[in-house]
Symmetry: C2
Subunit: 211 residues, 2 copies
Amino acid sequence: MILHGYFRSTAAYRVRIVLNLKGLKAEQISRHLRKGEQRTPDYLELNPQGLLPTLILDDGEVLTQSLAIIEYLDTLYPAPALVPSDPLRRARVQAFVLSIACDIHPVQNLRVLQALRAGGFSEEQMNAWAADVNAQGLAACEKLLSKEHSTFCFGEEPSLADVCLIPQMGNARRFGVDVAKLFPKLTAIEQAALKLPAFANASPAAQPDAE
Amino acid sequence: MILHGYFRSTAAYRVRIVLNLKGLKAEQISRHLRKGEQRTPDYLELNPQGLLPTLILDDGEVLTQSLAIIEYLDTLYPAPALVPSDPLRRARVQAFVLSIACDIHPVQNLRVLQALRAGGFSEEQMNAWAADVNAQGLAACEKLLSKEHSTFCFGEEPSLADVCLIPQMGNARRFGVDVAKLFPKLTAIEQAALKLPAFANASPAAQPDAE
């Protein structure tokens, strides 16, 4: 398999974690986001959205959207399970996942920040925007876990919730959100997750294209 | 069941379509978004994100995030199926769904537009922003269907892709995107879907709280 990603892309980071959790290998091709390498004609053929990541399967089939890629991998390689089988429990995990994947990540990503800059936002306003989206979103995440008391978001093993949370925590910190102070529960989960090689080896700093 | 929604919320519209497709009934409570009724303390207890929709099950369990709610309903009421069982086909449908649910809808919703206004965007700039997010996102959707030649997005029966597409088409039109001209394939699908009572009866104009 070939994974088109970028060290700092949180969506690619999710897929890297899942590949590691499942014991799968993929050749990684780095697409430098700030240089626009996700918008070259050859890449747009693979991924019409011009977003990362894209996974090319061994038979040449092309998968896009991190959560769709992860669901595919989870179906073909079901161990370890990433989402609970109980429907209600599953709905709770998915709501947490989507609160990050829909309502935090796309609202603070490079594409939006570039549009804000074009619309007249100063660098300071742009950073404040991104920090605010992360802080508000993670505050909701912390509340969504108010009835959970486990090592990871929803139990003693990492789930898709942790796969989405850990990359977003790094992003929030990068925009200056004091996550340790504001979100003690999420921070404890992050610390537990980053002790696992599957998470640590997927982190931006551990990637060959890290700057 | 009780569905907290709003006639114009595209995320609530998705759930209304699925309830109709599955032949399920839910009492609807309208939360007026522009009046901030999604941010009252009682509602935030149910939905810490302060977003629509929320579904309250008959036993009092609370579900949030439209796609998590839909997956729950689809598990408990599997007919008609909303996603294909073949993993690769499923990944294609989910990528299409997520391209709307992650990369269009949250980037042009009221919360973002209000933040843009607070950041100094004029009404004209805000509308151009929303139109652009919709137009770019739907252009990718049209391309994601380039190999599909069916009545609905991915076949002769509506799937989760159509459940997400139809509400977004309405939103794009509301922001002035000439969808009929730009997206002939999506427009033909929309016309087919809105002939089905499950879609037509879920549309904003058909809701009791429509203004």
